[in-house]
């Protein structure tokens, strides 16, 4: 059995470990905050977030897309249909687009991918990163370290890399993304991509012509309502 003197030394040793450990955590905290963007972190806790928006606020039809960056059908829509939607419907003022993050459970790289897009969004380049992630999805989903690829995409779209790195290492959008996922589930969204087109809900990687029909129906309903 240890004597009183030995026990005293032991407790002093434990105290020293605790003081050093807590001190190191405080130093890490100070360094982490010094390198980050001056914003309220974590982002989105208690604040309303309506999604990433593209197009005119006065467009007659609003389309809300719930999507996951690791979902193949979402990538198919982004690659095959979205360019036409942007050019023919959004750019012409017919549609206002709202992208809602829905990182699915079971997709190991989905959350980091969505987080990378939020970090690009801080520099007003969410949709540029969105495109990089979807157009290159086939590459990064099979990568062992997709985070370095996300960084390459961030460089390619011209982000300030210091700000991007700080954002990624802070993980500050994690709470908001988790809440976005809960909101989508609460809204009854059960698969991706899902679109609310002027109040009508459709799912799947729709082709442009099919998508256009839903938009036209929504526009006609909106026009009838306003008369």
């Amino acid at each position: 059995m240890a004597g009183p003197q030995q026990m005293k030394r032991f407790y002093l040793g434990l105290g020293a470990i605790a003081v050093v450990g807590v001190g190191l955590i405080f130093i890490a905290r100070a360094r982490g905050n010094a390198g980050s963007i001056p914003t309220d972190a974590p982002v989105g806790v208690g604040a309303a977030f309506e999604g990433h928006i593209m197009g005119s606020d006065s467009a007659p039809v609003t389309v809300v897309e719930y999507a996951d960056f690791e979902c193949p059908a979402c990538a198919q829509f982004a690659v095959l249909t979205a360019p036409d939607v942007r050019q023919r419907l959004i750019a012409t003022g017919q549609v206002r687009w709202v992208f809602r993050d829905f990182p699915l459970d079971g997709h190991p790289f989905s959350m980091p991918a969505h987080h990378a897009a939020q970090c690009a969004g801080e520099q007003d380049k969410f949709f540029e990163m969105h495109d990089q992630l979807y157009f290159n999805q086939g590459r990064w989903v099979v990568d062992r370290r997709p985070q370095s690829r996300f960084r390459d995409y961030a460089k390619a779209i011209g982000l300030d890399m210091k700000r991007y790195d700080d954002c990624m290492s802070s993980g500050r959008y994690l709470p908001r993304l988790a809440r976005e996922r809960e909101d989508a589930i609460a809204a009854g969204v059960s698969q991706t991509p899902t679109f609310d087109i002027g109040g009508q809900r459709v799912s799947g990687a729709l082709m442009y012509d099919n998508f256009r029909k839903y938009v036209d129906q929504a526009a006609a309903a909106a026009a009838a309502k306003s008369q």
Binding site: L14, I25, M111, Q147, M168, S169
Partner: protein, 138 residues
């Protein structure tokens, strides 16, 4: 004594990861982004509870039992060592599962998680040695 010291180091390490997880730390000192990849993955929480918080709770329990076990009135008692053995074995099994996830599913190595796994394995070894010593002496 050694098990209490190891548990305290594990507790501080888990607390660091948990503080990051809840957004109280600006950034994780990791270097290559692998820690963030692990911490941002869906496997960083179980039923909504952050894995790091489970570590805080587990190491706290081990730390307290280890401190209890060296109190003069409990020296020679078998139960603190047995409880420590069960807790450390559970910790080793859980760490093995998390290490498997890092290697085979997430494909990223979080050095802090590896550190925690090393601590719990060392702690398990120390507790087994203590248990064997208790058996021999009794």
């Amino acid at each position: 004594m050694v098990s209490a010291a190891l548990a305290l180091v594990g507790l501080l390490l888990s607390m660091y990861l948990w503080l990051y997880k809840i957004g109280a730390l600006g950034a994780l000192a990791c270097g290559d982004g692998a820690c963030e990849q692990v911490q941002l993955s869906p496997y960083a929480q179980i039923l909504g509870v952050p894995v790091a918080l489970l570590g805080v709770v587990g190491y706290s329990a081990i730390f307290m039992i280890a401190l209890l076990g060296i109190q003069p009135r409990l020296v020679g008692a078998r139960w603190p060592t047995d409880v420590l053995l069960v807790l450390a074995a559970g910790g080793v099994a859980f760490s093995a599962y998390l290490t498997y996830l890092e290697a085979a599913v997430i494909h990223a190595w979080c050095r802090w998680c590896i550190g925690s796994a090393a601590i719990i394995v060392a702690l398990f070894g120390v507790v087994i040695a203590g248990r064997v010593r208790w058996r021999v002496s009794s």
